[in-house]
């Protein structure tokens, strides 16, 4: 039994945590990767700073240009990418596990469309500022999720019902959104579409802090719910027979996942495909079809950090919204996933 997992703590004692070996190795690897990507992000840019300068800036206070660039511009962006990546990936992992479908991801099912409706209303009706847009996104997303859950609740949450109702509501909101876009002025429409792409441009600490305060406790909550999530995978009957409260666990998990994704995307816009792709990629890396949420989260963080690096530096002089990179890569990934599933079911 020792070869399968590592034990932190004592076998006889009051506390012990069990970690799968490959998962642990991958987790550490991903953590290092995230740090490396973060540091590389600090380094790249039009203002190239040497490692010594970066180290000095991080450790000693000061007011030089380097300080502004690193501490005020690049660092919040990196931290946000990390947290948003983790949040989205964890939300995706929870949804995909509960809905038993690799494509049952919150951005596919339509929780994002509600957020976009909220933003559109704020921009078109109230000519809102960035913070107003963030609030609109949060309210829109949560309200939509609430409506979807309510409509799907019929003595419990059935998987397919939740998926289909999500898709229906999303299609409905989409049609309304497109119509609002059409009726709005061109600048409002452009702002809304730009927001819908998802971007980390112009991230500051002022924008970042509320998201961190909201997301980090929720991420920790989700991570601690890993065990019931894995138990639910065995089927409702077995899960209930081993002591899991099915309906309340499922609801709590879905609500936390929705909340963490909604909060993470208030400032960045709905970054597509991290929630969809990160759990699957983590599963392939871990060689475990249900990887721990921590691994999934770290994979999402690494994905978003790399996507952001690409978005910033791929094209000379243009900072693409990170959503364009993720959607292109995501599209490619989706194609590969579908084709491999097709090959698997035809063999």
């Amino acid at each position: 039994m020792n070869s399968a997992w590592w034990l932190i703590g004592s076998r006889q004692g009051a506390w012990s945590w069990r970690v799968n070996r490959p998962t642990a190795r991958l987790g550490l690897g991903l953590l290092l990767l995230c740090f490396a990507l973060g540091i590389w992000s600090l380094y790249l840019g039009s203002l190239r700073l040497t490692p010594e300068v970066i180290w000095q800036t991080l450790t000693q206070p000061g007011h030089s240009m380097a300080h502004t660039v690193i501490l005020q511009w690049r660092l919040p962006r990196i931290v946000m990418a990390w947290v948003a990546g983790m949040a989205l990936a964890i939300a995706g992992g929870i949804f995909q596990s509960l809905l038993r479908n690799p494509m049952g991801s919150p951005d596919v099912i339509g929780f994002n469309t509600g957020a976009w409706s909220g933003v559109l209303l704020t921009v078109v009706l109230f000519k809102g500022s960035e913070f107003a847009m963030a609030l609109g996104s949060l309210l829109g997303g949560c309200l939509t999720a609430g409506i979807i859950f309510l409509l799907a609740w019929q003595q419990g949450l059935a998987r397919m019902r939740l998926i289909i109702i999500g898709i229906a509501i999303s299609a409905l909101l989409n049609a309304v959104n497109i119509w609002v876009m059409m009726s709005a002025s061109q600048e409002s429409a452009l702002t809304a579409v730009l927001w819908s792409m998802g971007s980390l441009n112009g991230m500051t600490w002022r924008k970042c802090m509320p998201v961190l305060i909201g997301c980090i406790p929720l991420i920790l909550l989700c991570l601690s719910a890993n065990r019931p999530l894995r138990q639910l995978e065995l089927g409702d009957d077995i899960a209930q027979a081993t002591g899991v409260r099915i309906q309340s666990s499922r609801l709590l998990l879905l609500l936390s996942a929705t909340a963490v994704a909604a909060i993470a995307t208030t400032m960045t816009g709905p970054i597509p495909f991290i929630a969809l792709a990160a759990p699957q990629i983590a599963a392939r890396l871990c060689r475990d079809p249900s990887p721990s949420l921590l691994c999934t989260g770290l994979t999402g963080a690494a994905l978003l950090l790399s996507a952001d690096l690409l978005a910033q530096h791929a094209l000379e002089g243009i900072q693409l919204p990170v959503g364009i990179v993720t959607i292109s890569l995501g599209g490619l990934y989706l194609l590969i996933l579908l084709l491999s599933e097709a090959r698997r079911s035809s063999s």
Binding site: Q231, L234, G235, I238, G243, P289
Partner: protein, 273 residues
């Protein structure tokens, strides 16, 4: 909440009183009384759709009865928390699905869930229970194999091992042998028999094969259309009249030459063309 002045007969570890249960609008059974004797291997038999599996699910609280009450050790089931109940009753469900790629050891270890918590995720009790469960089901060599590479019979043994690792005094089995070939069926039934006789656990199983039920079970419950038609030891209740009543089957009953329990020999019925 209605209180029932109900005292289960002595020796009944799990009992149901005036149970009405079923799905949504169509109740499967009304005002059913059932007793599971402590330390017995009880088999529930009956035709398709008579409510056997539904009864089993109601007894372990997977289904809430519309009326009536189930009691475990003379306490209503409703008084137990999910975790406490899971430490008392184990279930081998028909609808179990193993996550893709999971290994035997990991799946068996999942049976320890009710004994673990977020803070205490692995204890030497868990290790001992899992090792014992693997030994009892003869899976120790296969512990590191992927479950989806195993044969049907081996896979069922993995699920049985998981329930055993749960270390419950009562085990409910929903059609445990239905999809297995004859040798695996007998293997599993012998294991259950040993668990009951030597391990002292109370077993309740829904079985389709009457002869197997007669041979291995110590207590039979025969159901038809949501009602219990007869209950008692196989020797007492299994007669040709009962088979006619429960299954509409015309048969003869003789003592099994190996185990001396009732053996059903169905009569041939002419087919009208």
């Amino acid at each position: 909440m209605t209180t029932y002045a109900y005292h289960p007969a002595d020796g009944a570890v799990l009992s149901g009183h005036q149970l009405t249960f079923g799905y949504r609008d169509h109740p499967v059974a009304c005002n059913l009384d059932v007793q599971i004797p402590s330390g017995s291997f009880t088999a529930i038999i009956g035709p398709n759709g008579c409510g056997k599996s539904t009864l089993l699910r109601t007894l372990c609280r997977l289904l809430e009865p519309q009326h009536g009450e189930v009691q475990l050790q003379r306490h209503p089931l409703a008084h137990y928390s999910g975790r406490e109940l899971a430490k008392q009753i184990g279930l081998l469900a028909q609808s179990a699905s193993a996550p893709e790629g999971i290994r035997v050891l990991e799946l068996v270890a999942r049976g320890r869930y009710p004994h673990q918590s977020w803070l205490r995720q692995w204890h030497q009790d868990d290790e001992q229970a899992v090792t014992e469960a693997l030994q009892m089901t003869d899976l120790t060599e296969l512990a590191h194999c992927r479950v989806d590479t195993l044969s049907g019979g081996q896979r069922q043994r993995v699920w049985v091992a998981m329930v055993l690792a749960q270390q419950t005094p009562l085990i409910l089995l929903d059609e445990p042998t239905t999809y297995l070939d004859i040798s695996h069926q007998i293997e599993l039934l012998e294991l259950f028999h040993a668990l009951n006789h030597q391990g002292g656990r109370t077993l309740v199983a829904v079985l389709h094969d009457i002869n197997q039920a007669c041979r291995y079970a110590s207590h039979l419950i025969a159901m038809r259309a949501g009602c219990i038609v007869a209950e008692g030891s196989p020797n007492e209740i299994v007669t040709a009249e009962l088979m006619q009543q429960v299954f509409g089957l015309s048969c003869s009953v003789i003592p099994d030459p190996v185990s001396q329990t009732p053996l059903i020999i169905p009569h041939r019925s002419p087919i009208w063309l």
